[in-house]
């Protein structure tokens, strides 16, 4: 298939033609041109094939059960956000207490350091997840906009 019609015909109109989106005069003009132009005749046939193949495609859709399992209603989302806030406050309080205990504990320094490192690792993982979620919320352009 050559890339364009050699006669300079606007082949974009072919898509409008197969979709029935053109005025009668334009349709008649295309009928005449396609009869005379092998390139546009072939292209028209190929475009129709693509449209028909796409229209005949069926997709798997989630079952009713899957919709129920993944249902997220506004109340559940609000509860989740409240849960995140409470969990975050708890994490901050726990971190403060653990840091205080580690610093003031009579245990050898290497025991305190090991405990502190382990807890810090868990804490950092938690903070990274929290930061991702906050980032997502902050950068959601459509949180207030629908159109």
């Amino acid at each position: 298939m050559t890339t364009t019609c050699q006669s300079g015909f606007d082949e974009v109109l072919l898509s409008g033609y197969i979709d029935g989106e053109l005025a009668q005069g334009e349709r008649q003009r295309i009928d005449v041109h396609v009869d005379q132009c092998a390139h546009c005749s072939s292209l028209l046939s190929s475009l129709r094939d693509v449209r028909d193949i796409a229209r005949g495609t069926a997709f798997k859709v989630p079952s009713d059960e899957m919709w129920r399992e993944t249902a997220r209603t506004p109340p559940s989302r609000w509860l989740r956000q409240i849960g995140w806030i409470i969990t975050s406050l708890f994490a901050v309080a726990l971190t403060s207490i653990v840091t205080y205990e580690v610093v003031t504990s009579p245990e050898p320094w290497w025991v305190r350091l090991t405990v502190f490192a382990a807890l810090s690792g868990v804490g950092l993982l938690f903070v990274s997840v929290l930061m991702d979620r906050l980032h997502d919320r902050h950068h959601d352009r459509y949180r207030r906009v629908l159109k």
Partner: protein, 195 residues
């Protein structure tokens, strides 16, 4: 069973408008019926735009939540589906953009993410084998299109919206719809040609 206004509306095949008005009045079953009625088409649009069932389900859930929260803003005299589609489309674009930013991928690189999720409904597998292959090829090639071209082809050829509806939905002139659609179809047609 008690026949609520929403159930009565549904059983009488009432319009979206009827259910929207009931939902606005606080009828939760009307809201539920609206989402159940439209979630399948919303999911299909998301799947066709994102190419991946997991992301499509996430996008659909998010879009339906926004749909429910902001139903008050919707003009009940207008058709519901274009409004819902605009929410789904915006959500999909947002998720696609985020995913690319996170992975630092080029804007058009979807190959690893684009997964076919098609159904072969043929009763005669031999007769329809070629057609099935072509459908998969077109679907895979759809994932190679630029997002602007893909969404127009999806809205026209998979969702069967008119140029006017697509133009309103995307906020572009109908001439632009036709030219992008043509380029998208031509690309797919070239992909179907024997190499």
């Amino acid at each position: 069973m008690t026949l609520t206004p929403a159930l009565a509306a549904e059983s009488h095949g009432e319009s979206d408008r009827e259910l929207v008005l009931l939902a606005r009045g606080g009828d939760r079953s009307a809201l539920s019926m609206l989402t159940v009625r439209h979630r399948r088409s919303a999911y299909l649009l998301a799947l066709q735009l994102m190419g991946n069932p997991d992301d499509a389900l996430d996008a659909t859930q998010d879009a339906l939540i926004k749909f429910c929260i902001h139903l008050e803003r919707f003009d009940a005299e207008r058709p519901l589906k274009p409004w819902l589609y605009s929410i789904v489309r915006n959500r999909c674009r947002d998720l696609l953009r985020r995913r690319r930013v996170r992975r630092a991928e080029p804007i058009d690189s979807d190959e690893d993410h684009w997964r076919p999720e098609l159904v072969d409904e043929s009763a005669d597998p031999h007769a329809d084998l070629e057609r099935s292959r072509l459908r998969r090829r077109v679907w895979e090639a759809l994932g190679e299109l630029a997002p602007d071209h893909r969404e127009i082809l999806v809205l026209r050829d998979y969702q069967d919206l008119s140029y006017s509806e697509i133009s309103d939905l995307l906020g572009v002139p109908q001439g632009t719809v036709m030219s992008r659609l043509h380029r998208a179809r031509k690309y797919l047609a070239n992909q179907l040609e024997p190499s």
